[in-house]
């Protein structure tokens, strides 16, 4: 039956082939039977513009190999031709770009993990113009010019920098790099989930399955995830052993059926646990639609799962290591285990005539299974001195010669594919073997990444030649990743976690772990890290140049820094570092494992947080009013604030000049609702505030306001605002727009932890009060008719509760413009109608709306500071020319103001700057110096903090922090700029109405 359907498939393929323009090669390397693919379902796919056929169940890698294709990419640095090395997540070479409709392209995907679908379109990377003809390959001729540390060495000194920028960087940028980022917006949807469980099991191989069965039967809530499309791990290729009396693969099917019937267990295939974070918090990326030819609109492309598990069980298996020998990177060189995976899972022969070279028993299984499938296994070269035990015996019995104690001396390439290997025997004789694949094994490295993320200790193990994870509370490692060597052991460890009895195992051909060897790495072009083109010689050179820590060797050589994070190469990197340093591997240690285990797309991490949902937006109750007035908005933290209100054809500069002029001539109206507001109440409220602000507040009369400055305990200005005393025990305090949360936190800190005896309560009222500022000589005239109380005699810095246009209001006479001004606080819901009423009065009187830009200009003309602009966390009130509270008892920050550093005469003080050319605007942040063109290295005397065009003065103005500034008034200095120094004169920081006549008017 299988044969018949196979023939049908072939016929169909040939028919399909005629329908194609391109060349269509039947998948000639497919076996007649076997594998876990669906041979009746052909899938067409395209690689580098050529059409091929594969089967349902293939990966892109297995489908390419079925078509006899090993060459899939060029290497990163030297552009050497590279083939498929592995069959899993560890793949360093076979990175491709996938294209779909609608601008969907994804670079740097591992062909070994891409499930084939109808119409899949993939291209290779790192080649130009094509994979077979690649000009970048000339880079390999220049290999001696690109040694380890090339980048660091080149960039040393100014001459190196110049060379780097002019010569090397453009060259390398063209040649190197992995795939290209997509240029279109991502059209897909990504979802974000949170979940909890009793047990999270990572890896659905035998150990993970046994644990899931045991925990599930106990009734625990279990999540079992596996990065592959098909759960099962090594059970998928276990064709000999019987588990619980039935063939292993039947046991797998039975177990999965049992798990899926349990309501308390969720099995998640295609789900990579990419990170394990503190307190058993795991990040999982589930690929939902990538394997579908036509993903439905109803599904997200990927889901990010954040899972909190009471217990985490890591059953992540082990990764085979390649051998080290000259030219070990050629297409056709493959891990022995991968060749077996391709045969048993995908029905693909990776070659017809193969040589196997190994330092581990596992490759003997590959020899047996390939030979059984009709592949000619020419020889098994065992680098170890002897090959005994059931596996080598079985291989000898199958008629395959075994050479012990030899090594691989080289490989030969023909038409970009391996065509022969040079083997050396123990007795020194050498011989070339023709072959189309060389299958290698150098032992296995337990996959300890997630355990390391969770900070489990790593212990060197001589038998494995690798680090094994220790256990930590709440995180257990089981199976091969914890050093289990047999199927029986893996099942037993999984069951034992939940005190269950493991199923019995019979007829297993056990594989002993192997420490691996560095033999063959002594001379020649021996690649350790295939993705980043790091050779054994690079590592020896790094150690020779004095690098001792593996962390440094890693950074210097870039070994393990690729997207594969050195999954196949790191152990060799450590071992070579150890050997070159004359140390034991345990002494050298391992580099840090960092999430993600495999790359995670930005889409998965971003989830729905994009576009409008990227960042929360805060708007004031008057936002719609500003929109209706065609305001241009700016972002201030999360707030949208009206920056200016341009009339038709006006530039920002023109609009701001008009708004400032009109405000100072008649009146301006401004939405100040973003100000932070805190209600402070209680018998000790005055005492509490007095201890938190520089300014004296205990004596503040009810009905009065005071400008107040808040310091950090270190004496630096952290915020400012108005403290309004409404009643004996009741204050309304404002903060800066950005400082609201910080100030409340600061207040709560002292209230709760330093002065818990004070009877005072704090409530944030930022969202409850809308604030409309009315500023200008006619502000009072606008307000009076709307107020239900007489405010004509309300003095500057007074506060009253009264009704304005029907709204219960808290009216403050305060100014941030230097003009007579008011701030009307009303509950948010009353703000829009009040705005309309005031707006009508404003228009009648010839006033204007103004935005934050005009507000900034007007306050700068008056020398009023803005926190975060004139302050940067190093500025004291004295530096700003503000009161320092010397007469007051202790308050937060007071003691710090008399520390020696705070008393230095050359502290930077707030001054004004006037450019000699009044038309020139200074750059905020620009440095102040004494000479027009100071020599390099001249320290700055200070910097420009604010710079505007002042409509009132008809010229540019600036504020600055200047060393000993108040002693330099009248001095001529320079502001450094890209076109030389700009001459300025130091002036007092108040440019307009220093007597305050307008304010009190």
């Amino acid at each position: 039956m299988i044969g018949a359907s196979r023939q049908e498939g072939m016929m169909q393929r040939l028919l399909v082939g005629r329908m194609f323009q391109g060349r269509l090669v039947p998948d000639s390397m497919r076996t007649e039977a076997g594998g876990r693919i669906d041979r009746a379902r052909d899938l067409r796919f395209r690689f580098d513009g050529v059409d091929y056929l594969g089967c349902e169940g293939d990966t892109l890698a297995s489908a390419l190999l079925a078509n006899g294709i090993h060459l899939v990419g060029r290497s990163f640095k030297y552009h050497r031709p590279r083939g498929i090395l592995s069959a899993g997540a560890e793949e360093p070479n076979a990175l491709v770009t996938l294209r779909r409709d609608g601008g969907r392209t994804t670079p740097n995907l591992r062909a070994t993990q891409i499930e084939l679908y109808e119409g899949l379109e993939a291209t290779s990377q790192n080649r130009w113009p094509s994979l077979s003809t690649d000009f970048g390959a000339l880079a390999s001729l220049a290999a001696p010019l690109l040694p380890a540390g090339f980048f660091y060495k080149t960039m040393l000194g100014p001459r190196g920098w110049k060379l780097w920028h002019r010569l090397f960087e453009p060259l390398l940028r063209r040649g190197a790099g992995l795939g290209h980022a997509p240029t279109q917006p991502d059209p897909d949807r990504y979802a974000r989930y949170h979940d909890h469980c009793d047990v999270l099991i990572v890896g659905a191989g035998p150990a993970g399955l046994a644990a899931a069965l045991a925990a599930g039967r106990e009734g625990q809530r279990v999540i079992l995830c596996d990065e592959q499309a098909e759960p099962g791990g090594t059970l998928l290729t276990e064709i000999r052993a019987l588990v619980d009396g039935i063939p292993a693969r039947e046991f797998l099917a039975r177990s999965l059926a049992e798990l899926s019937a349990m309501p308390n267990v969720r099995v998640m295939p295609r789900t990579t646990a990419f990170g394990l974070y503190p307190h058993n918090h795991a990040g999982l990326a589930e690929r939902v639609t990538d394997h579908l030819a036509a993903p439905g609109q109803d599904l997200p492309r990927e889901r990010l799962w954040q899972i909190r598990a009471a217990r985490v069980v890591l059953a992540t298996g082990a990764i085979e290591r390649p051998l080290l020998f000259p030219n070990n990177d050629r297409p056709g060189v493959m891990l022995a285990g991968a060749a077996r995976d391709y045969l048993l899972r995908y029905g693909v022969k990776v070659g017809n005539h193969v040589v196997i070279a190994t330092a581990c028993d596992s490759a003997y299984l590959t020899a047996l299974d390939l030979a059984a499938a009709g592949v000619e296994v020419k020889v098994v070269l065992d680098l170890r001195s002897s090959a005994e035990g059931p596996l080598p015996e079985a291989v000898r019995k199958a008629g395959i010669p075994i050479l012990t104690g030899g090594r691989v001396l080289g490989t030969h390439l023909r038409r970009l594919r391996l065509d022969s290997v040079l083997l050396g025997r123990a007795d020194g004789r050498t011989r070339w073997f023709d072959c189309d694949a060389l299958l290698v094994s150098n032992g296995h490295t337990p996959t300890a990444h997630l355990a390391a993320h969770a900070r489990a200790p790593m212990h060197w193990n001589d038998t494995w030649g690798a680090f094994l994870p220790g256990s930590i509370e709440g995180v257990a490692s089981i199976g091969a990743c914890a050093g289990a060597t047999t199927l029986a052991e893996a099942l037993a460890q999984g069951a034992a976690l939940f005190a269950a009895v493991p199923p019995p195992v019979e007829a297993e051909l056990p594989i002993a772990p192997a420490p691996g060897t560095l033999q063959g790495a002594e001379t020649g072009c021996v690649f350790v890290d295939l993705q980043n083109d790091v050779t054994a010689q690079d590592i020896r050179m790094a150690v020779g140049e004095g690098f001792r820590s593996v962390e440094h060797v890693k950074r210097y050589t870039a070994g393990g820094l690729g997207t594969d994070q050195g999954k196949t190469g790191n152990m060799a990197l450590f071992a070579l570092t150890a050997a070159a340093s004359g140390l034991a591997p345990a002494q050298v240690g391992t580099t840090t494992f960092r999430p993600p285990y495999t790359p995670v797309t930005f889409g998965t991490l971003a989830g729905p947080a994009r576009g409008d949902l990227f960042d929360p937006v805060r708007t004031t109750p008057l936002h719609d009013k500003a929109v209706a007035e065609a305001a241009v908005f700016e972002d201030v933290g999360p707030w949208k604030r009206a920056r200016y209100f341009p009339r038709k054809g006006e530039t920002m500069h023109e609009a701001v000049a008009r708004e400032v002029a009109a405000t100072r001539a008649t009146a301006g109206m401004f939405d100040a609702s973003t100000l932070g507001k805190i209600e402070v109440m209680g018998p000790d409220a005055a005492e509490f505030l007095n201890r938190l602000y520089v300014n004296a507040l205990t004596g503040l009369k009810p009905g009065s306001c005071r400008y107040a400055v808040m310091l950090s305990e270190a004496g630096f200005v952290m915020d400012d605002g108005i403290v309004a005393r409404l009643a004996e025990n009741h204050f309304h305090v404002t903060t800066t727009t950005g400082g609201a949360a910080r100030v409340l936190h600061h207040m709560e800190d002292y209230r709760q932890t330093e002065w818990p005896d004070l009877r005072v309560w704090l409530t944030s009222t930022t969202e409850h009060w809308a604030v409309i500022a009315l500023q200008g000589p006619k502000a009072r005239e606008i307000l009076i008719p709307l107020c239900e109380a007489d405010i004509s005699a309300l003095p500057h810095m007074a506060v009253r509760d009264l009704t304005i246009a029907g709204a219960p209001a808290r009216l403050m006479r305060v100014s941030f413009t230097g003009e007579l001004g008011f701030e009307v606080n009303v509950p948010a819901r009353h703000a829009p109608p009040l705005w309309d009423a005031l707006r009508a009065r404003l228009a009648a009187i010839g006033g204007t709306l103004y935005g934050t830009e005009a507000m900034h200009v007007m306050r700068a003309e008056k020398g009023y500071i803005i926190i975060g602009q004139e302050t940067d966390g190093t500025v004291t009130p004295g530096d700003l020319g503000l009161p320092e509270g010397r007469a007051k008892p202790d308050f937060v920050g007071k003691r710090s103001l008399t520390r020696p550093d705070m008393l230095l005469p050359d502290r930077r003080q707030l001054v004004g700057l006037l450019t000699e050319n009044p038309a020139v605007m200074l750059e905020e942040g620009a440095q102040l110096v004494t000479e027009a063109s100071p020599p390099p290295g001249t320290p700055a005397l200070g910097h420009v903090t604010s710079a505007y065009h002042s409509p009132a003065l008809g010229r540019s103005i600036a504020l600055a922090l200047l060393a000993g500034g108040r002693t330099r008034l009248g001095q001529r200095l320079f502001v450094a700029g890209p076109r030389g120094g700009i001459a300025v004169t130091v002036a007092p920081p108040v440019f307009l109405d220093p007597e305050g006549a307008r304010l009190h008017g």
Binding site: H281, Q306, R308, R455, E748, T753, R899
Partner: protein, 91 residues
Amino acid sequence: MLIIRCPYCEANRPEPEFRHAGAAHIVRPLDPSATTDAEWAEFLYHRDNPRGTVAERWRHIHGCGRFFNALRDTVSDRILSTYPAGQGRPE
């Protein structure tokens, strides 16, 4: 993301509900003006950075809003205990 037990709410809650607030058990001098510059600098700036157990302040800012102390292992990130502000450091 840590799981932190608020000693007032008596509940385990995820880290985003909390805000870290620096080292615990730093006593603000009752009369700062009586301290020497060196003593004041010690109070302001000098903090231990141990490998191992550290006592630190947290605030359940998106919960009860209160400050409390926690003992945390800086190597494993395990939180060994949490206790109200003002209470002495547990053994």
